[in-house]
């Protein structure tokens, strides 16, 4: 069981965690980009664009 647990932790740290971090970073960048473009179009008097699919937060 110890070996199984060690293999699982190694798999998660080497393969899954970097992928999750990359996705999270990309999502934050997308959100920031859309927030900046929404602010810019608001200040120009344009209606708010809901172009991208945002993720619900809890």
């Amino acid at each position: 069981m110890g070996v199984t647990a060690w293999c699982y932790v190694r798999h998660m740290r080497n393969r899954v965690d970097p992928l999750a971090r990359g996705l999270r970073t990309r999502r934050h960048e997308n959100d920031n980009r859309h927030a900046r473009s929404a602010t810019a179009s608001q200040s120009a008097g344009q209606p708010l664009q809901h172009g991208a699919r945002g993720f619900r937060t809890w």
Partner: protein, 532 residues
């Protein structure tokens, strides 16, 4: 089920009361100090989300390990040797199932309860599914809670013999009141305090006593095993499989059914799932579950040595004559090794063990009632935090009182049977829903409803028509026989039935499915987690 009194003197009982009340007063005071002071519902449901992995692991260990492990499992090892050790092994393996299968995905997609995870996955029809989840969680928590309260009476029986009605009522009412105070007033922070303290005492107490047993045999495990086999009355058969769960096909199936319920049921127990949602970061959760696996494994290892030691030092006949189920084996062993003091310490530990688990169960059921049923279904998400917190506290009190009343009615029941029936219901109703929600794209709300209600009904019906309720000497109605289902635990039938019903409900569902974006979002959320 009445047992004769163990050969334990009154001074042990008095010392037990003093120790137990001392620990309860200190931990209850600490729980009230750390209780949620503001009307923040997150603090009530999840507690301190920045605890270290070791503390979280101790809390998980304390939340899970009940008196069934300390008393029941050691008793089973003392009476049946190898089969009892396999029983303990199942308990440890169950935590591996949690780690590998559901811990991190559930943590990343959850909020306060399992209902939140399912609602994220099935947003259009979340309300009926939340109702079904609340019903199943209430059934499991109540059954397991009654098992703990009944266990308190069974423990008292070891000292006093068959207790009077007044003594029974007092015992159950006092323990039940403490449970309500910890859960309703302390919330998750209060539950965490008692569970961590209990876990530390349990690990230290069990390993210390196990070490004492090995010291008695000059640290020679072979000597312990040989002596246990010699005094078991069955020779080397004691160390081979089959003494309890061998022989007939029915016996073997019963063992397999029980192990299936234990290994799969843990991953669906509501108080364990609640613990998985508590840490803020997934990395902390991962380390916490690893700690829990190690601590539970250590306690089960120690419990195995205690069981063997009891047989080796006292003889199987002495244990069986005192209590047919073997629950007295640890206390008899403690009396043999360390006299009144060690007996009182381990008895106090047993009471704390069942108190901590009962608190966790009450809190999990109260959270489900308040958050899933009241806030999300009845008030449609419009309830304020103050309102929800009030309902959660009241629900804790109501569930505690319900547990007390049912325990007074069912005080003679076998606590291990009740507890493992709760495992079977969890594995049959909730586990299929969790697995399909996390890993099956096509899963629908109808499938969830069918697996929840169907799994619950199947396991309860099979249990009603099993030797647990009628036909056997230890059943509720031993003089009547309507037990057409031959096994004590319905897991081997009800667990596959739960999975089948979930699949069937989904493939036969012709209605409009969930929006595909809901599942895509869920998959990303399962990997990435929520913003904190």
């Amino acid at each position: 089920m009445v047992t004769t009194a163990a050969a334990i003197d009154d001074s042990s009982l008095q010392l037990t009361f003093v120790l137990f009340l001392t620990v309860v007063v200190i931990t209850l005071f600490t729980a009230l100090l750390t209780a949620p002071q503001r009307d923040e519902i997150s603090e009530f449901y999840l507690g301190n989300r920045t605890m270290s992995p070791l503390r979280n692991g101790l809390a998980m260990c304390g939340d899970y390990l009940s008196a069934a492990t300390l008393l029941g499992s050691t008793g089973l090892v003392a009476l049946t040797g190898y089969d009892g050790l396999m029983y303990l092994g199942g308990t440890t393996v169950a935590w591996m199932m949690v780690l590998l299968l559901i811990a991190e995905p559930l943590h990343r997609t959850g909020k306060f309860t399992l209902g939140d995870t399912v609602a994220l996955r099935l947003p259009r029809q979340q309300r009926p599914v939340r109702v079904a989840l609340a019903v199943c969680i209430l059934a499991i928590a109540t059954l397991y809670l009654v098992a703990q309260l009944v266990g308190s009476v069974a423990l008292l029986t070891q000292f006093t013999g068959a207790p009077s009605a007044t003594t029974r009522t007092l015992c159950v009412a006092v323990i039940g009141t403490f449970v309500i105070l910890y859960a309703s007033l302390g919330g998750m922070p209060g539950a965490t305090v008692i569970q961590i303290i209990k876990a530390v005492m349990l690990v230290v107490g069990v390993l210390f006593t196990a070490g004492w047993v090995l010291y008695h045999f000059d640290w020679n495990p072979n000597a312990l095993l040989e002596r246990a086999a010699e005094r078991s009355g069955t020779g080397l058969q004691f160390l081979e499989p089959g003494l309890r769960y061998g022989g007939t096909v029915s016996n073997k199936l019963d063992f397999f059914s029980l192990e299936l319920a234990i290994v799969l049921g843990l991953a669906a127990l509501p108080h364990v799932l609640m613990r998985l949602l508590a840490p803020r970061k997934s990395g902390v959760l991962r380390s916490s579950v690893l700690w829990a696996v190690g601590l539970v494994g250590a306690v089960c290892f120690g419990a195995g040595i205690l069981g063997l030691g009891a047989t080796a030092l006292l003889g199987r006949d002495t244990i069986e004559n005192t209590d047919r189920t073997g629950n007295a084996s640890v206390l008899l062993l403690a009396h043999e090794l360390g006299g009144s003091v060690l007996t009182a310490l381990l008895t106090c530990l047993a009471y704390l063990t069942l108190l901590a688990v009962a608190v966790g169960l009450t809190l999990a059921a109260a959270s489900s009632l308040a958050h899933d049923l009241y806030s999300e279904v009845i008030r449609k998400g419009q309830a304020s935090e103050t309102e929800e917190l009030t309902v959660a506290r009241l629900s804790g009190a109501v569930i505690g009182i319900l547990g007390i009343l049912l325990a007074l009615v069912a005080w003679g029941a076998n606590t291990a049977t009740l507890a493992f029936l709760a495992f079977a219901i969890a594995a049959s109703a909730i586990l299929p829903t969790i697995i399909y929600t996390l890993f099956w794209r096509r899963f629908t709300a109808k499938g969830a409803l069918l697996s929840l209600y169907g799994g619950l009904a199947c396991s309860v019906l099979l249990a009603v028509f099993s030797p647990v309720v009628s036909s056997a000497p230890a059943s509720f109605y031993p003089d009547i026989d309507f037990a057409w289902f031959p096994l004590q635990n319905p897991g081997i039938v009800s667990i596959p039935a739960g999975f089948l019903l979930g699949w069937l409900g989904t493939v036969l569902d012709k209605g409009p499915g969930e929006d595909s974006t809901a599942h895509e979002e869920f998959e990303v959320r399962m990997l990435v987690g929520a913003d904190d």
